[in-house]
């Protein structure tokens, strides 16, 4: 048996809608098998993992909190990936955005004003964008591989944050804990609904998704991004500059990641700590692909991936499986998404090896009549 691919004359509309759902289904099957292997009742485990978190009010708020950074970052990444630029360092831009946005509440912690929050958000976005300029500049100027440089900068950003909260930014009244001061009330992103924890970051995320969707669909910039992403050569004929696009893609995705970072710190945490993200910047890559690089799809995909974080915590408490299962689900999901995307461009045929052997043997028969003659 061997698998052969046959190119479809055009991309399948059916599968471009179905493939994320097939991938989700396959991930659930793998999850059930995994729980069975761990000696848990798969139905019960799946309930606690994927349904229970959706049944209580407070956990819906947690879902929104977790989905916020994922959607914001992934929307930025979708533009980047579509233009064929590979920014893998969103996690680092998230951290740098959080640091830049925290300059005001940490260094001027007494300042209370309605100006504080907007300034924080703007400086967060600028911080993320500036940090993303480094790989962009290196790629545009020296043709350096942006995947590796942006990824290396993640480690640098995390170490820098660690130094800040243990060193110069440590709370002087904090009993030596590695934390900054708690932000004052005017530096905290307000909650959307009274009594729930979900904060305004979610509104930012949805607005960003809608605006990006509009940009990609109905503006010249969106067209430029797709053309340059599919063929840099074709883009050059149209007068688009691939170099400028490198900067645009990185600045855009960096600003989104930076905004996500400061929104998370200001809305959900309330201070800087040595670790402020459970890998949102990397999980957002999965969100971007699961949402088929479409900003509206990304909103849905962000909620799904946020659910895996919650489900991991819930399953750990209720049935005692490790919350690492969540990471496993996320990785498996990306695998299946990529595998299912093959169905959009190709038909898959299974061919028995015996048939292949016959075909190979066929030409050997033809000389035989010559000898007989």
């Amino acid at each position: 048996m061997r698998i052969e691919l046959e190119k479809r004359p055009e991309r399948s509309k059916l599968f471009s809608i179905l493939s994320p759902f097939i991938a989700l289904g396959l991930t659930l099957i793998v999850g059930a098998v995994l729980f069975l292997a761990l000696g848990k009742n798969p139905a019960e485990a799946m309930f606690y993992f994927f349904i229970d978190p959706l049944l209580v009010g407070w956990s819906l708020h947690e879902l929104a909190i977790k989905a916020t950074p994922l959607i914001l970052i992934a929307v930025g990444l979708s533009v980047c990936f579509r233009s064929n630029n590979w920014n893998i360092g969103a996690e680092g831009q998230f951290v740098m955005g959080a640091i830049a946005g925290s300059i005001i509440p940490v260094m001027f912690h007494g300042w209370e004003s309605p100006l504080v929050l907007p300034l924080m958000m703007i400086s967060g976005a600028i911080g993320g964008a500036l940090y993303a300029t480094i790989p962009a500049l290196l790629k545009a100027r020296f043709n350096t591989n942006e995947i590796l440089t942006s990824l290396m900068l993640v480690y640098v950003a995390q170490l820098f944050l660690d130094w800040l909260v243990r060193g110069p930014w440590r709370n002087p009244e904090g009993f030596n804990f590695p934390e900054t001061r708690n932000f004052n009330a005017s530096a905290i992103l307000p909650e959307i609904l009274d009594g729930g924890r979900a904060h305004w970051g979610l509104i930012f995320a949805i607005v960003a998704a809608l605006a990006t969707w509009f940009m990609m669909r109905s503006t010249l910039k969106g067209f430029e991004i797709s053309v340059l992403g599919q063929s840099a050569r074709a883009g050059r004929f149209a007068g688009f500059s691939a170099t400028k696009m490198v900067f645009f893609a990185f600045l855009f995705s960096g600003a989104m990641a930076g905004l996500a970072g400061i929104a998370e710190v200001s809305g959900a945490i309330g201070q800087l700590r040595p670790v402020i993200s459970p890998g949102y910047g990397f999980t957002a890559i999965i969100v971007a692909f699961l949402g088929r690089l479409n900003p509206l799809g990304i909103v849905a995909a962000g909620l799904v991936l946020a659910l895996t974080y919650l489900g991991g915590e819930a399953a750990q408490i209720s049935i005692g499986v490790s919350d690492k299962v969540a990471r496993l689900f996320q990785g498996a999901l990306l695998f299946f998404v990529l595998a299912c995307d093959t169905l959009i461009h190709y038909r898959i045929r299974l061919r028995s090896t015996a048939k292949v052997a016959n075909v190979a043997a066929a030409p050997v028969q033809s000389p035989a009549p010559v000898e007989a003659r």
């Binding site: 043709n143 350096t144 995947i147 590796l148 480690y155 695998f335 190709y346």
Partner: protein, 306 residues
């Protein structure tokens, strides 16, 4: 043992996992495939090597487990990118995310256990040579394997027909296919080789470098190995030099700190990552060097026409 001897030995120990992972990836990239999942295969190798050594009590069984884990993981990558022609960049990332998650789960019960260290194999007579003897001939099995692999790969790629075929596939898979070379099969073998090497690198981390299991213990070494392949401009012997340079940078920082130079530890830990960026920039500035050696069909999908 003198101070400098100790420093040199620690440099080589730090460089060995980089050499192992990078030489595997070099073969993969020479065949035209870009596997960004080195970090994931490495961490799987590390956890499975540790688990194997713990359960069997023998570090050698552990090394074997690490190789099998890395190899199995690479075949997953191969199936997606070679059979299903999925995007290689995204699949490599998926492999890393999956590897970090799975290794965390497998390793949970091993956290804090004292590890089994791979014994030092002194080569008789040679290890008695003053200074150099202990450094070069008084190491563990994986160090010798790393040197052997670099020499073996250099010989294979540039002195054998099979190596020529592999490079031809990497430079132009269409022509290689037309000449009757089985592109997919050779690439599968190359990817598998890369996976086994990454598994060995992981085994070195959890059985030699720090004989214990710590989550995320590969700490970006898989990515540094990828950068090393570019740094070496896809040439095995340059790769060896590059890896030792990296080992020296990271160990040099630690020793500078121990000597009381007032740098915060976080900045010292940044050094290998910053060095990677600097080195990548320096290499990519010389376009001719990269263009000549870079496999021309690196990262391109291939579907055989019939």
């Amino acid at each position: 043992m003198g101070f400098y001897e100790a420093v040199l030995i620690s440099v080589m120990t730090a460089a060995t996992p980089l050499v192992l992972a990078a030489i595997g990836e070099l073969v993969v990239e020479r065949s035209g495939v870009l596997n960004l999942g080195v970090e994931g295969m490495m961490i799987m190798g590390a956890v499975c090597a540790f688990a194997g050594a713990q359960i069997s009590g023998s570090p050698f069984i552990g090394v074997l487990c690490g190789m099998i884990a890395g190899g199995a993981f690479s075949l997953l990558f191969g199936f997606l990118t070679l059979t299903l022609v999925a995007n290689q960049v995204a699949t490599g990332l998926a492999l890393t995310i999956l590897g970090l998650g799975l290794s965390g789960m497998i390793g949970e019960s091993f956290i804090g256990l004292p590890g089994v260290r791979l014994p030092v194999l002194d080569i008789p007579f040679l290890s008695d040579i003053p200074v150099i003897g202990r450094i070069v001939f008084g190491q563990d099995l994986l160090f010798y394997a790393s040197i052997g692999l670099v020499i073996g790969v250099a010989w294979f790629l540039f002195r054998t027909r099979a190596g020529l075929r592999l490079r031809a596939i990497g430079d132009n898979h269409g022509s290689a296919h037309a000449l009757g070379v089985s592109v997919i099969r050779v690439r599968y073998l190359a990817v598998l080789f890369g996976g086994v090497c990454s598994g060995l690198a992981g085994a070195h981390l959890s059985l030699v470098y720090t004989p214990q299991w710590v989550e995320n213990m590969s700490a970006g070494r898989g990515w540094i190995a990828l950068a090393l392949v570019v740094f070496a401009s896809w040439r095995p012997l340059r790769l060896l030099a590059g890896a030792y340079l990296f080992g020296a940078v990271s160990i040099g920082g630690l020793h500078a700190q121990a000597l009381g130079v007032g740098i915060p530890s976080q900045f010292v830990s940044m050094l290998p990552y910053l060095a990677t960026i600097v080195v990548l920039v320096l290499i990519s500035m010389d376009r001719r060097l990269t263009l000549i050696n870079r496999p021309a069909s690196l990262g391109q999908p291939f579907v055989p026409e019939r």
